[in-house]
Amino acid sequence: SSLFVYPTKIIIKTCGTTQLLKSIGPLLHYACNLGLTLCSCRYTRGSFIFPKSQPFPHTSFKEEVIYLEENLPSNLCYRKASVMPSKMTSHSWHVFTASDQTHIVSQNDDLYTIEVCMTELDRVMAHKFFQPPGDGKNGDIAGKEMTKLTGIGDINPGAIICDFAFDPCGYSMNGIDNDRYSTIHVTPEDGYSYASFECVGSIFDDNDDIAEVLKKVVQVFRPATMSVSTTCASHEVWTRVANAVEPLGMKCRSCAVDEFPDSGSVVFQTFTVRRK
């Protein structure tokens, strides 16, 4: 899981049976003490693997939306909730956004966010995220070794990486490169292996930049199934995703698009390994 704190933006991403939405109340309280007012909120997630194990308020998307509606201030009056489907019923993308008038006006942001969810990781690659039994290394040292061994450190060589390996397996990293973050989380257990990658980019970046990043990510994990959500206010970045991933042997199986008042377009694509 990861937390990013900017002067006027906070991003928190958690897995497992965490109760993420319960952070809203305390965050609003502390921000208010600093003289800051909430102007937009975006909540996203994929489909839970074990939905019945999720605690309140994550028992269903409907419940999550109700919780958000009840706990966000009334100035965030432009609200939308959507479940974006894919051909695989187990892979849907859930999006809730809320914003005030100010944020809608200023939405012509050049930045985009890419959220990648990968399942059925290559077994050899996934095994690199297990710590050898009894090696006694702490999470920081073991994390650095995994970053190097797996090639994660090469995804953005210019980034400062903060990494951590969990015992007996699992890995998390945050990359920071000037004002941009990236993050990777891995749970490598066979049978339900999973890895996520997320980064931000600008529509003014070189067209090849995000393509090169996605290629490296796919090569690190070699997933059988992958979903990519692209959120972009003013430009269609999503076409670069397919162009990057399909030459690596993955085929786009579905693509859904929706518009949100404060975020612009959200494009949700799913890919599976091309049958030989």
Binding site: T8, Y43, H185
Partner: protein
């Protein structure tokens, strides 16, 4: 639920704020002390395991 309590797919929340004080806007939420962040994370049921920051923002790796 799997034996390990595994649930890979993350939940992600992004919040944007604005303020009238340019001094606060410069550092804003980064002025939150670590104790306050811990209280936020307690509500989520996470803890900080590693951290790094630069001129622009702070990044924390969390448990779970």
């Amino acid at each position: 639920m799997a034996v390990s309590g595994f649930e890979g797919f993350e939940k992600r929340l992004e919040l944007h704020f604005f303020g009238d004080d340019p001094v606060v806007d410069n550092m804003g939420l980064r002025l939150l002390d670590f104790e306050s962040l811990v209280k936020v994370l307690n509500a989520v049921q996470c803890t900080v395991v590693s951290a790094v920051g630069n001129h622009y923002f702070d990044a924390y790796v969390l448990s779970e």
